[in-house]
């Protein structure tokens, strides 16, 4: 029994759950298991998945980035607004990306140099980004995508071989970040810092630079997620900074088995978590479950995922083995 449990990682459990739910929904829900709905399901979770991939880099480094939703909304809205005001599209996009990276840099400086706990630092920067952006840069809740964006729309609405572009963007980002984590020094150092910051430091890793890199990468990915989202729905609603979006992102990251205690998991875990949540939400929508009920269910799943996470990946091995003294 014990051996069976040891072999069972959170990733496998979640994947198993995903398959079970998929089968149950296919058998019980009319109109669930057909190509059209499954593509819709994937499309619905792509942006969430992209954000999850970005966040997982930070979580592996034992941090968290609550400012991602605000960064995504405001940097993209600003880029669109600049374009509407007549700026060249690519210059506007570059400025938007630059702004997002700046937010990541500020997060990194606050966390690595000022040594503010990531939870508070990014909560504050998220609020600042939204407040500053709405006060100075954007004067409406909604910024619409105008025809001046031209072919960029393809990113949100196009299809390649019947696969919607957002799904492809999700896949590409997942592959890129996965490769970064696995095959670059920055990626390996991110695991090292998340596993044991002190060991990493003594071994000669410049911990602070690695932390900066993590938050900048997360913010850049947030910008890409935002562009994809805006092109898909033809607008960017800055209000999503205030929504539960960021908690859903944390949900897919933690659910898949990226431990909040750092150093564990990877992009694959995020994909598994995203698939489970996507299926679940799609099924509930077909069953016509109310939005508020859906939120409540999501909250319970998040709680269960975090509890499972602390049990599978305890922060302190010693304590988990011997119990608290």
């Amino acid at each position: 029994m014990n051996k069976f449990l040891n072999g069972l990682t959170q990733e496998k459990i979640v994947f198993l759950l995903f398959v079970i739910i998929l089968v149950v929904f296919s058998l019980t829900l009319p109109g669930f298991f057909n190509a059209g709905n499954l593509v819709l399901l994937l499309q619905g979770i792509s942006v969430l998945g992209i954000l999850g991939v970005g966040l997982c880099v930070v979580v592996i480094g034992r941090g968290i980035d609550l400012s991602m939703a605000a960064t995504m909304a405001l940097s993209v809205a600003w880029a669109l607004q600049l374009n509407i005001n007549g700026m060249d599209l690519y210059l506007a996009l570059a400025i938007g990306l630059g702004a997002a990276m700046l937010v990541g840099l500020i997060n990194g400086v606050l966390i690595a140099y000022a040594e503010i706990p990531p939870l508070f630092a990014t909560l504050a920067t998220g609020a600042c980004v939204y407040g500053f952006g709405r006060l100075v840069l954007i004067h409406t809740d909604l910024v619409y995508v105008t025809p001046s964006v031209g072919n960029l729309r393809f990113l949100g609405q196009g299809r390649i071989l019947t696969i919607p572009m957002p799904v492809i963007v999700f896949a590409v980002i997942a592959i890129i970040v996965g490769l970064i984590l696995r095959y670059t020094k920055f990626g390996r150092f991110t695991y090292a810092v998340g596993d044991n910051q002190e060991t990493a430091r003594v071994t000669g890793v410049s911990v602070r630079h690695v932390v900066l890199g993590q938050y900048i990468l997360a913010s850049s990915v947030a910008f890409i997620a935002g562009i994809t989202q805006a092109m898909a729905v033809s607008s960017m609603n800055t209000r999503i900074s205030d929504s539960l979006l960021i908690y859903e992102v944390i949900l897919v990251v933690v659910l898949g088995g990226v431990g909040l205690s750092g150093g564990r998991g990877g992009v694959r875990n995020v994909i598994v978590g995203t698939l489970l949540i996507g299926t679940f939400l799609n099924g509930m929508t077909i069953m016509d479950v109310q939005y508020t009920t859906q939120n409540a269910i999501k909250a319970v799943i998040l709680l269960v995922a975090i509890i499972a996470d602390t049990m599978v990946n305890p922060r302190d091995e010693q304590t988990s083995q011997h119990g608290d003294i």
């Binding site: 390996r188 150092f189 596993d195 044991n196 002190e198 000669g204 150093g263």
Partner: protein, 499 residues
Amino acid sequence: MTAALIEVTNLTKEYRGIPAIKNISLKFEAGKVHSILGENGAGKSTLTKMIAGAVQPTRGEILLDGKKTTFPSPGDALKNGIAMVFQETSLVPSLTVAQNLFLGDEKVFNRLRGLYISAQQLLQSLNFPVDPGAQVSSLGSAQRQMVEIARAVRKNARLIIFDEPTATLTPEEKQYFFDLIDRLKLRGVGIIFISHALEEALAVSDTITVLRDGEHIETGPASNFDREKIVRDMVGRDLSSQLYDQETKREARPYGEKVLSVQNLSMGRMVHNTSFSVYSGQITGIFGLIGSGRTESFKVVSGVVKRNFFHGGIVYLRDKLVRFRIPKPAVQQGIAYVTEDRKVEGIFETMSVSESIGIGEMAAAGNKSWFVNRKKMNKSAEYWSKALNIKSIDASSSVLELSGGNQQKVVIAKALVQNPQIIIFDEPTRGVDVGAIAEIHEVIKGLAEQGLAVVVISSYLPEILSLSDRILVSRQGRIVEEFSIEEADEEMIMYAAVH
């Protein structure tokens, strides 16, 4: 003989089957000062913590006034009149003295004025010059200790255990502390005194007990002891020395180049104006008791702790003046530090053997390449696993699954792969099984023979004697004595290390 206040019989404490304390039977009397002496790791703290309820014995009995008792927690011990005063005081710094004294016993309607009056009375009765309204954070060490003692007295403690109470005190404060002990004695309070300072123990004690390697060596009235006898009792070894070289009089390896030279280094309260040098091709052993600043000096050198800006000092690496604020540049210039605390700053518990060693290699390589060369990583993991005889299923097995000795070898491999000129081993065999100790010692000797400058910091004398060519003794934050292996023996070193 008066009746014992507390008696322990056949007390044994095992950690994972390894005894830290073996079959100790002792009596502690009221109104007497009983000193417990021994080297680091002799079991002094474990023994007293069991009496104070902080650690539970594996076997054996504790008798309070002749009746068998158990203390499941320090709170229970305190209720029965046994208090322990730790080296680091357990006061709340942001509260006042009076609030600390009555912490946990406040009434529902807690009148501060009443609290201050009772606190004032208590402190006066003990003749402690402490203002009950002062914040604890504003007090000095001695005054904090007074507050702690007053708290113990208020709880009607009949036995107070002091763990290294004088380590942080100035000479004047020490004098005051000893007066205080006398006064407590007059009130009939039994006192257990743990200290590395032998003279103090001799001066203040009625009874002295010496422990060694968890075993009871001798107990007797203080008048039966003198400094020489205590040192002899503390270091005298029989079985445990089998592992180490029997003939300590061996030839030292010749001096190589002077690789590291430290002048007047100071840091905080732990390192005071210390100077020493390290040479290539030989092993420099650093011996000192806990709190003597031996680890801290080398942590400053290797950038692991930042030197306090206001204290300063000079460090030369070969002929270059260096000052490392973080370990990274130290690592890249060839200083590797192998930590004494594997769990905190030695291993990556989620990583495999090869990944751990890979992190070490990449960190030392600097900014030459952005990418991981997995093939090279596995190759060097294979090489080091073989060189250090790391016993794991394969290089991809998790570090956490390895034994203590093999974990330590991974930490050493992680440092060696960085190709250091100076390698600092801090307690290289702590928590390592006997077989692996011999292997690690062979590795350390081999490094010196290859021409590296090797530093071994250890609080275990036989280890120092069997490895070192030169022995530096650290005491009170400073290197105070240097011996060559030809002239050194255990008693001389211990003599220099205690004060």
